[in-house]
């Protein structure tokens, strides 16, 4: 448990990381470093996106599955690691 906390702290302190959100499968944030409204907004929208991405991948090949999703935008990058029980979302702006 301490290792996990340490790793999370390290990630948080990396250059340009704006927020980390861990959500469970029902869409309830377990751990977040951002304010509540942004968290809820991100969670709601990202959940749908991940479902769609996963569905797309598996339609193409049912034996495949989504392991990581990165969305690069003009302002920042959102990295999502989806799993059966949870999502890990990190938002980074490396040019900070």
């Amino acid at each position: 448990m301490a290792e996990v906390e340490e790793t999370l702290k390290r990630i948080q302190s990396q250059k340009g990381v704006q927020g980390i959100i861990i959500v469970n499968s029902e869409g309830i944030p377990i751990k977040t470093t951002m304010d509540n409204s942004s968290t809820v907004q991100y969670v709601g929208l990202i959940h749908q996106l991940v479902m769609k991405a996963r569905s797309t991948l598996r339609d193409l090949d049912p034996q495949n599955d989504l392991t990581f999703l990165r969305i690069r935008s003009k302002k920042n990058e959102i990295m999502i690691a989806p799993d059966k029980d949870y999502f890990l979302i990190v938002i980074q702006n490396p040019s900070d």
Binding site: V4, Q92, P94
Partner: protein
């Protein structure tokens, strides 16, 4: 007694069967025509004729009269009936390929083939499943039924999630992704990929910052050369973290199988400083935190990865113990240690190395054994069975000719003809690249011994041209007859194997030389570390001056050097706990490959 008519009886379905008997038949259609040959044909004909006549006479006959009558008309009543409204519901289900796949392979773990029929049953099953699913399923995007919908999907306890191993792996990947974003230009430079100038998405306004060389502590040497840019070192990044701050780096080694994995040993050179040592395994993917951290009891003096079993890392320490760590596991403790061995070194182990040795007579058996040299003057060969056990390869006896004053730890140096001679503390050694049974060992009094592992009594050669402890010996990887040695007497000497005097003696500053290494890429190039400077020499170019001189930051002493194997980079460790990765730029080597300039 009348039977009680119950509700059930009324609702009971009663079956009624109609069957034919002897007298009653189902179908009874009397015929309307009679055959001419029948018995009563005459009578019927008679009757037919009489009827026809009757009909003829009827017309104007008084016997018959028309008369009308009125029938009762029943009173009609209108009645209305209303039935329950039939509720129409629209249900839709999306049966995607993976949904079928999952329900088919997942819950039942059926191994039947995917013929048309089972597919259909799977289809209908998936409809049923999704309607029974615990989550909302009437939405078209009913993709919540991923995997097994029959699983009770109550959300896992948050603590369990955070503690699970999978989560840790995910965190690892995530951290690496983030760092890859941050370090991308540097890593690209390391891999010698062309860097995209200008249009970096990362920093549209500050696009140049990442790519331009920012000379922090670099000092260019003015080269009188036709090239427009002189060879320099560009600092790419630094391996350092909280744990390593302030520690001296004593040794570094690349993993033989995975060239991106670096092991760094931290240990103080000073004997009086008894801080416990540290070994960190760094990966290129994460320069901010090591992948593995091993705390050792005493300072670490040397490291080596095994070539045959690339997960084995041998560590030599200042108390003479040798430990072997298995880096594949997350286990923080060492796998094997030599502390219980009776023949272990009782003084600092200065260097350890894995080398292949011929075991059998055939010469085909090459087993890898761990060799170590230590300050107690012995070179040992260790075997790893269940525990470490060693065999002594050589003792570094002092030579007959008297040398200059030794350190205080050595006794009885003045008396000649002594039977009990104390041993010469060994500092470094190196195995011949081609014939691995020959090795060179450097000692604290400046003597270099050439020995063979088959002969543990005598030295093949001794080279005694150094005046101070020999800190490093390295065979040239391109020319098997040549080796370099450096020592605390400020010199670097280049030797040819059978000549007792060195071919070249290189001094550039009057500082102790701690480490040298041949470049794995260019035959005449090697790097050396003095205390405050890192120098790259190119013997082809000049034997008087180094080609590149790099000054350390003020107050920082460089202690260790390592060339990167597949790229033009050099790693320098210093006494503040940082390993800096430098890229050698604008460095071109002439045609000489391996031919040593004859002086």
């Amino acid at each position: 007694v009348k039977e009680q008519v119950t509700e059930d009886m009324l609702n009971e379905v009663v079956n009624i069967y109609l069957t034919e008997t002897e007298t009653i038949t189902h179908l009874d259609m009397p015929g309307i025509s009679v055959s001419v040959d029948a018995d009563d044909a005459e009578a019927i004909k008679e009757r037919n004729n009489r009827y026809a006549e009757l009909c003829k006479n009827r017309m104007g006959n008084d016997k018959y009269m028309d008369r009308s009558m009125q029938a009762f008309i029943g009173a009609s009543k209108s009645k209305q009936v209303q039935c329950d409204s039939i509720v129409m519901v629209d249900t839709a289900c999306e049966a995607t390929t993976w949904d079928m796949y999952d329900s088919f392979y997942g819950a039942e773990q059926d191994k039947t083939e995917l013929t048309a029929e089972p597919e259909k049953s799977g289809y209908s099953e998936s409809i049923v499943n999704s309607s029974r699913g615990p989550e909302k399923t009437t939405s078209l995007l009913s993709t919540t039924s991923i995997g097994n919908t029959t699983l009770e999907d109550d959300a896992a306890d948050p603590r369990l999630i955070l503690q699970s191993e999978k989560f840790q792996k995910v965190l690892l990947v995530m951290e690496r992704c983030i760092l890859a974003n941050i370090f991308q230009p540097k890593l690209a430079a390391y891999r010698q990929l062309p860097i995209v100038e200008g249009k970096q998405w990362l920093s549209p306004h500050r696009s140049i910052k990442h790519n331009v060389v920012t000379p922090e502590t670099m000092e260019h040497r003015e080269e009188d050369v036709e090239r427009s840019l002189s060879p320099t070192l560009e600092s790419l990044w630094v391996f350092s973290c909280e744990l390593t701050k302030g520690r001296t780096i004593s040794c570094m080694a690349w993993n033989k199988k995975n060239p991106d994995l670096l092991a760094v040993g931290y240990g103080e050179f000073d004997f009086r400083d008894q801080t416990p040592g540290l070994v960190c395994c760094w990966s290129l993917k994460n320069p901010t935190w090591p992948e593995r951290v091993y705390h050792c009891n005493t300072g670490v003096t040397s490291l080596d990865f095994s070539a045959k079993h690339p997960y084995r890392l041998a560590v030599g320490m200042t108390d003479g113990t040798i430990a072997i760590y298995y880096v594949y596991s997350q286990d923080k403790t060492c796998a094997v240690s030599s502390s219980k061995c009776s023949k272990k070194h009782y003084s600092s182990t200065w260097q350890v190395k894995w080398a292949e040795q011929d075991m059998g007579l055939s010469g085909d058996d090459k087993e890898e054994a761990l060799m170590s040299i230590s300050a107690d003057g012995r070179i040992s060969k260790w075997f790893l069975h269940d525990d470490l056990d060693c065999v002594e390869l050589m003792r570094l006896k002092r030579m007959q000719e008297e040398k200059d004053e030794m350190e205080t730890e050595v006794k009885d140096k003045k008396k000649k003809g002594e039977i009990l001679r104390s041993l010469n503390a060994g500092f470094c050694f190196d195995f011949h690249p081609v014939d691995s049974s020959i090795y060179l060992a450097g000692s604290i009094d400046g003597t270099i011994y050439k020995c063979s592992s088959s002969n543990s009594q005598q030295f093949l050669e001794t080279y005694s041209q150094h005046f101070g402890p020999v800190t490093r010996i390295k065979w040239c990887p391109f020319n098997p007859n040549v080796f370099l040695s450096c020592s605390l007497d400020w010199t670097i000497k280049l030797w040819i194997q059978d000549q007792l005097t060195p071919l070249l003696c290189l001094t550039s500053t009057q500082k102790q030389v701690h480490d040298i290494m041949w470049s794995p890429k260019w035959a005449t190039v090697f790097g050396a570390i003095n205390e405050g400077q890192m120098k790259i020499w190119n013997l082809d170019y000049s034997t008087l001056d180094p080609v590149i001189v790099h000054m350390a930051a003020p107050g920082v002493k460089m202690t260790s050097l390592l060339f990167a194997l597949q790229t033009d980079c050099v790693l320098v460790g210093d006494n503040s706990g940082q390993v800096t990765v430098y890229q050698i730029k604008n460095f071109t080597v002439g045609e000489g490959t391996g031919t040593v300039p004859v002086v």
